[in-house]
Symmetry: C2
Subunit: 131 residues, 2 copies
DNA sequence: GCTTGAGCTTCCAGCAACTGGAAGGCCTAT
DNA sequence: ATAGGCCTTCCAGTTGCTGGAAGCTCAAGC
């Protein structure tokens, strides 16, 4: 199967698939004309990557998950640990974003939003509080 | 004022300050020995950048905010629009992260987390639902 | 005067995870 | 034969820094 069809089936752009080969996440064979030739198993790996990337795992985490995926002897605890770690990171990011949001919306609420130059947002950014 | 002191006052690493000069966000003068020489106004700009970056604005947004900062004729509505746009983006990111978290925690909850190979997380990543 | 150490300079490279584009080969159909 | 669409490789760019090497300057201590 050529890269175009592999792209369709895995829902990944061809560029990304080539990149995944560069960093040794997939190793398709080659046809006699030099074209990449993807097996069913390659497609499984690509789909797996697509799904795990979309769940926010980094490439290196995907590499780990992929090795667990292909290890029939894996312990489910190992996989669960990776997932739980990711959940912690996500919680942390959400917390940060909420805090940013709070600050920004407080600033925006205090801003008249008219065509006058007076602006509490700028004042805050400039370090001038409660002028 | 040398870069080290500018770094202390702006709470930005010297490397970052030099980078901001590379991308034309600050233009300090030079002392006779070739050292960068930061004025009070330069420090204001650096502080402004530090604060706006920490609030999640991109470099290009900071550049815009900085030009508004130095424009005495600015309309506060312009600044408010940038802030509100950012709030929308933050909301979007939070929503995405919450959705990721939900999926991941559902998967982790269904996983025994023992030393057996059976693992619903891997099954999901591989595209095998509800086996 | 000399050395030491901190602080400054420039430049080059690398991080993550792709993405875009150029130059060219291949394949199929008309 | 030619057009187009797909494929190949390679190089460069994205964002926002950060690390490191090689070398200059400056102030302090002996």
């Amino acid at each position: 199967m050529n890269i175009g069809e592999a792209a369709r089936q895995s829902e990944l752009p061809p560029k990304t698939i080539r990149y995944y080969e560069d960093i040794a996440l997939v190793k398709p064979s080659r046809s006699s004309n030099g074209y990449r030739d993807y097996s069913e198993n390659d497609i499984h790996r690509l789909r797996f990557l697509q799904r795990s990337r979309s769940l926010g795992f980094t490439i290196e985490e995907c590499r780990l998950l992929l090795s667990l995926y292909e290890d029939d002897q894996r312990a489910s605890a190992d996989v669960k640990a990776v997932a739980n770690q990711k959940i912690i990171e996500i919680d942390h990011k959400i917390k940060e974003l909420r805090s940013l949001r709070k600050t920004l919306s407080a600033l925006a609420e205090n801003c008249h939003g008219d065509d006058k130059p007076d602006c509490p947002i700028i004042d805050d950014l400039a370090g001038r509080r409660g002028r």
